[in-house]
Symmetry: C2
Subunit: 363 residues, 2 copies
């Protein structure tokens, strides 16, 4: 536990690809995926070993503040910040750094999305501790995940020269960030051993991030410093409301990390998925060493006859599969999705059809 | 409407192949398949044009009498007969004939199972009227269904010489009853045009059936005549309870029809299935002329993306299919079945697994 360490938890996004569990007013971070805790509860839980509870900041949309307070009673209302408008990860994560810096000039800040799934918590903690030590040396540190299969839905990080070992992990410079690859490229990346999944999990000294922001996004740096200056004063809300609409809508990756020469990566090998679609949860839950023929059921009693490779996310009911392969079954109170496992990214097509029909309750 | 016409409705069987909708204490004839009326209600409804309500007799197990009375309030308690023990269709249908004969020496009796699905009711009525006229001439008449596809789950009737036209239908002698064929044989049957599905739907003079029963099953004839003699007396229950356990457990087909030389068939072309498995309902509901790529949903809102040939029996929830072909989805309150459409006969394997697990509520 590092007293200087702060954790920012950006909690945004609607997650239509996880329909029918996620809906417009039920973004995935509020849902028990994979359960029993909700994703944002699990995010806070897994940080318990590395950050003091009062050093956590959640940044979310105004409509989700009440539900987050309900789900996270250990946080003060002060620790849940409502963005007046959604503005991408750059301003949100930057605001966390600016606030931490105003409180502690040596603050180290980590950013951990509220809607990712992590398993093997001890390895997660080890990676964060390692990243904190590398960050102390002035690096902007990303925690990269060793890929367990050639996923085309993630960005990749090409790692460069070793820069030292901390907590048993060899950190490296980042050679380059790579966009989501096609399948052949992804296979090459995985085979090379030089590429890591970009998990959008960052650790840095708040002062170093603000320096780099001043270099690459000076308007944002100005805006955030003005907001941070008024943060612990009665003018907080007024200043935030006045300035936030003027900040650029940009990700921290595009805005700073892809340009900075001070970026390092800590390779980690805990189980991770951003849960971009249902297959992500199924693939991670099954684990890469498991029998691919196996069927996996979360929150469902499963009974099968001659069926393989299926993933069921249920609501406690019995699910029986007969003569089927590689299907995804998502069972909710008012909607049932049955999907070929290789096509879970197309769930948004179903959501679009519902929208075209004018459905309100199911979206 | 023929005053002399009586209708017997045998209501038996457990229907595990229609799990999870049918259960041990919810046999299919009590269920709304395909709905909205239950199967036994639909059976009585479709007879309204050909039989007087007071001439209907339902024969069932003692445990189902109350529910049948609830579902069929137009019937007197007298019209619902509880078999002390299940004894196959021979004794059940024979009892109906013996009772009708005791009331009217010229009674004509039809037998219509409580758990078959019929569409095109006008053609059904036409076939029954035709069968009544042929029965008057002393034939044991079966109503045979022109096959719409080579079903291997049904018995077939090979028709012989024409014996006359009634109500626009050419009745024929029955050359032979055939057991359930393999697929090649079924295809040959259908191509020949000479074979009909044996729908276990019969019409005969009660006196003719009892004559043939006396010839081929004399012990059963004796037993049923003793029961019928006491039927409208205070001794009914005592006589039924004493004699019924002694009658043979035999079907009317094996016991009489396969031996008798007085059997005729009235070929009919209404939609029919005995609903032996889920594909039966799907196939009949879709109709033989429909696009086989079409998806069919009963009691479910269906939304599809790139999915074909599936059948959904729901409970009102939205069902979304993505990238799937030929699946059957049966959605109930406490269990969900998803099955390859060509393998619906194997649903009993699922039921057996549940039994092995010691499940009680789901069976």
């Amino acid at each position: 536990m590092t007293e200087q360490f702060f954790a920012v938890i950006p909690a945004g996004g609607s997650g239509t690809r996880l329909w029918p569990v996620s809906r417009a007013n039920r973004p995935k971070f509020l849902l028990p995926l994979p359960g029993p805790r909700t994703m944002i509860q699990a995010t806070v839980d897994r940080l318990a070993g590395v950050v003091r509870p009062e050093n956590i900041l959640v940044i979310t949309g105004a409509s989700h503040v009440d539900e987050i307070q309900r789900q996270l009673p250990s946080l003060d209302a002060e620790q849940i910040i409502a963005e007046p408008l959604p503005r991408g990860s750059g301003p949100a994560i930057g605001l966390g750094a600016a606030i931490a810096l105003a409180r502690d000039p040596d603050a180290i800040v980590g950013s951990f999305a509220a809607d990712h799934v992590v398993t093997e918590n001890d390895r997660f903690e080890q990676a964060v501790r390692s990243a904190i030590e590398i960050a102390r040396r002035g690096y902007l540190v990303t925690i990269g995940i060793r890929p367990s299969y050639p996923e085309t839905g993630y960005g990749y990080i090409h790692s460069g020269a070793e820069i030292g070992t901390q907590h048993g992990i060899d950190a490296r410079e980042v050679d380059r960030f790579k966009e989501k690859p096609d399948i052949e490229t992804a296979e090459r990346y995985v085979a090379s051993g030089e590429y890591l999944w970009n998990a959008s999990m960052f650790v840095w000294k708040a002062g170093v991030l603000m320096e780099e922001m001043r270099r690459y996004l000076p308007d944002l740096a100005d805006a955030l410093e003005r907001i941070a200056r008024d943060w612990d004063t009665p003018r907080r809300e007024a200043t935030l409301s006045a300035i936030w609409p003027t900040v650029p809508d940009i990700t921290i990756d595009h805005g700073i990390l892809e340009h900075s020469t001070r970026v390092a990566v800590v390779p980690a090998s805990f189980g991770w998925t951003d849960l971009g679609d249902w297959n992500g949860l199924g693939a991670m839950s099954a684990g890469c060493d498991d029998d691919p023929d196996e069927n996996l059921a979360i929150n469902a009693e499963l009974i099968v006859h001659d069926s393989r490779g299926s993933f069921i996310f249920g609501q406690g009911r019995l699910v029986a599969l007969l003569g089927l392969e590689n299907v995804v079954v998502i069972d909710t109170d008012d909607a049932l999705l049955i999907c070929d496992r290789s096509r879970t990214q197309e769930v948004k097509q179903i959501v679009e059809q519902l929208r075209a029909r004018g459905s309100t309750t199911l979206l």
